[in-house]
């Protein structure tokens, strides 16, 4: 059945799959948010350890989702993989360095004889949660603001960016998106900790942190949203594949895809409700509303970048080198095969959900950190 789908449909499906994975990653950055909260929210070692042991049981899911995001893009849009990662070399390398140091930090931080000392591993977590997320935001920002590269007749890429991608971090839109994601992660982190830890003083601080970080995130969100409404975009002629600048392109995309407006609106409402429910209604389950909201906002952002005849990885040096989901994708055969593979994703999500529920059924308490299994704790 899947084999009968035409190439364009498959390309649309795979942009959606990539978007879902990317958006789930954004939700899961509550781990990174928790990592930076470590420096502002807890008082004393006990609260710090509670936070570490809470997000420390989820960090691998975030990490793995990022890896899958890369793998899915490689399989479905190899030209993007080939173009972006090599060109934005330093951005991606810095992102990866922050994830490398993150991966050891939970495990090594409290182990005796850990060479660098607990504080260093905490700083690693801070770097990953701040710089790592900021740069991911900046990299996603280039989906709208473009990069400087040229593809030759063999689709091999030549970059015209002397700082190999670090230019992305100098653009107001990109940086705003990055900072929005950093503070959104902190909001999500606070809400997750609130829901996962049973320790009244820390819970109160998490409620406050969710609210404060939401307020800090707002101006950056406004810059992103307003820019999207007014900025020029990269339009692809569906008949010829020719790319041209179109003023108000992303506004046009919003108007042409009411479903995306709905996603964006519902997503923002979800995030706001999540925060409000924690701060003012004193509920603990705000993470689910804010988390779902984040996924919906993510889907909307990716849809704006890739659908409705838009170049999702535009070239500022040569418009015709810009990548769209039409010219950057894998072959029909590969997309069909991978779509069959993707049928397993709901099954994977189901067991993750099941185990998550099982593991988080009881909240983490200070007692657990001192109990029979104290030696196993992070």
């Amino acid at each position: 059945m899947i084999g009968n789908l035409d190439l364009a449909t498959l390309q649309n499906i795979w942009w959606l799959i990539g978007s879902v994975v990317g958006s789930l990653f954004l939700f899961l950055t509550f781990v990174q948010g928790g990592q930076t909260l470590l420096f502002t929210t807890p008082q004393g070692d006990l609260e710090k350890n509670l936070i570490i042991n809470s997000i420390g049981r989820k960090w691998e899911l975030t990490f793995t989702t990022l890896v899958l995001f890369g793998g899915a893009l490689f399989a479905a849009f190899p030209l993007f993989y080939a173009t972006s990662f090599g060109g934005a070399y330093w951005v991606w390398m810095l992102i990866l360095f922050t994830f490398i140091v993150q991966a050891v930090s939970f495990e090594y931080r409290s182990k005796p004889n850990n060479f660098l000392g607990a504080k260093t591993y905490e700083v690693f977590l801070l770097i990953n949660g701040s710089l790592g997320i900021l740069l991911i935001g900046a990299a996603v920002g280039t989906f709208f603001t473009g990069s400087r590269f040229v593809l030759n007749g063999y689709n091999s890429v030549a970059w015209q960016a002397p700082f190999h991608g670090l230019e992305a971090a100098l653009n107001l839109f990109n940086v705003s998106l990055g900072l929005f994601l950093v503070f959104l992660a902190r909001v999500l982190g606070a809400l997750y900790l609130l829901n996962n830890i049973d320790h009244a003083p820390l819970n109160e601080r998490c409620r406050a942190a969710a609210w404060v970080n939401f307020l800090i995130a707002l101006p950056f969100l406004l810059v992103v949203l307003v820019s999207l409404l007014v900025m020029d975009g990269f339009a692809v002629d569906p008949a010829t594949g020719v790319v041209s600048m179109e003023s108000g392109k992303y506004l046009h995309n919003l108007l042409a895809m009411p479903m995306v407006d709905l996603l964006l609106l519902a997503g923002l409402v979800g995030v706001i409700y999540g925060v409000v429910s924690a701060k003012f209604l004193k509920k603990d389950c705000g993470i689910w509303f804010a988390g779902l909201g984040t996924v919906l906002v993510g889907l909307a952002i990716f849809a704006l970048a890739g659908y409705n005849n838009t170049a999702f990885y535009p070239s500022l040096s040569d418009l015709q080198s810009s990548l769209s989901i039409r010219n950057a994708s894998s072959s029909h055969y590969t997309l069909v095969a991978m779509t069959y593979v993707a049928l397993a994703v709901p099954f994977v999500l189901a067991y993750i959900f099941y185990v998550w529920k099982l593991m988080d059924a009881k909240k983490i308490t200070p007692k657990e950190l001192d109990g029979e299994y104290a030696k196993d704790m992070y």
């Binding site: 190899p78 490398i100 050891v104 005796p112 397993a344 994977v348």
Partner: protein, 509 residues
Amino acid sequence: MEMEILSTVNWARAQFALTAMYHWIFVPLTLGLSFLVAFFESIYLKSGNEEWKKITKFWMTLFGINFAIGVATGIILEFEFGTNWSNYSWMVGDIFGAPLAVEGIFAFFLEATFFAVMFFGWERVSKKFHLFSTWMVAVGSNLSAMWILIANGWMQFPTGMAFNPDKARFEMQNIWDVFLSPVAISKFVHATSSSFIVAALFVLGISALFLLQKRHQKMAKRSMAVAAVFGLVASLFVAINGDESAYSVAQRQPMKLAAMEGLYQGSTGASLVAFGVLNPAKDVGDNQSEFLVSAKLPGLLSLLATRDFNGFVPGINDLVAGNPAQNIIGANERVANGKIAVAALAGYKEAKGRGDAAGAAAALATFNTYQGDLGYGYLKNGEAAVPPVAATFYSFHIMVVLGSLFILLFVLVLYHLKKGDIENCTNLNQASFYALFFGYVASQAGWVVAEVGRQPWAIQNLLPVGVAATPIGSGNVQATFFIFLILFTTLLIAEIGIMVKQIKIGPEA
């Protein structure tokens, strides 16, 4: 300009080698120790004996320390294909991306999800579900190895695809050819079972240390028994599969086999080198002797490579210059063919660009005739198809010798465990302890054979590394190379420090 590209390529190679070798320090232990921990916990559940829980938890702690740095060093490899090998990513992404994505979906999430249960679920889930989670981590780790080895197997033996001249890339035609490639299966069996040996040696070595120090003796002997059986069974798989691998390499990568054996002049009834010191002055096509000293087993190489004592095994000279008597087309000729293919592809593009349909068709016909040698067209000459012989030869022989000694060690340990006097066998326990380190040496050597032995190819015969790299300037790659070197070394020091401390602490009282 050419020098600059060459330098970028070589730094990219160095960086990939560095990061892959670092990653591979931790992977074998993850692959094998995950199963050993699952065995220990299964015994605990079946026997209900708390001693086995203690054993499980001790090895699990060491597993966790190793696992974290394995994850840390692994993420870079996937992204490096994009950052440093962009032309590669484009030319074969249509095929190569699939196993990577499948690895994420089917393997990584198993590990990521159940790892947390394994370490923090003792009080949160039932004993049975905990054991199930431990098994899932082992299965997930090994599945992830399977998918990445399928990808690697495809690079060694590209299959199930066709070249699309319009897009200038290879496209998948049959996913089953890629996923069930005999090379991929063979690599999976070889890499995982040899990793089980590394893990078995790890458990054996630390247990032997406990016996030497007269600490935790009961626990050490129990751990040793499980590890030695596991190691011995894995060794049998490696031995059987090693024979299959040699045959497969002979058929599909004869140049690699020639380098593994330092064989320059092909012959029937070719000898296997049991021991040898290569002649460093030896060059392709000259008359110098290949070895300064050597001991050879007559006919055995022919048997391994062709399943016939008198079969012909081509040497490097035959593979470079050709050997019409044996129907071998040499690399020199293939380079000429490849250049025709490269020119025809350019001609096709150019004719198409100016709307010359007849010209394009003619160029395409020429290209199709010579496309099997496309990759050779990017090489300077036939000799450029020869991998570094010394690195390949010595790594191969170190791996084989160590692998054979490990079998002997497992047998001796099992014998003395059965006899009940293992705690008195000081020499054997010392050997077990040192074998821990040699397990890593053998494992790394195996990858050197596999990867150095296939140079200059990123994709065998189709894409040399020189064309595969991202042209981003060697300075950038140099900088990241040294950052990786410093970062990974620092993390390794931390890992070893933590590991040694935990071993000193030993299982909980």
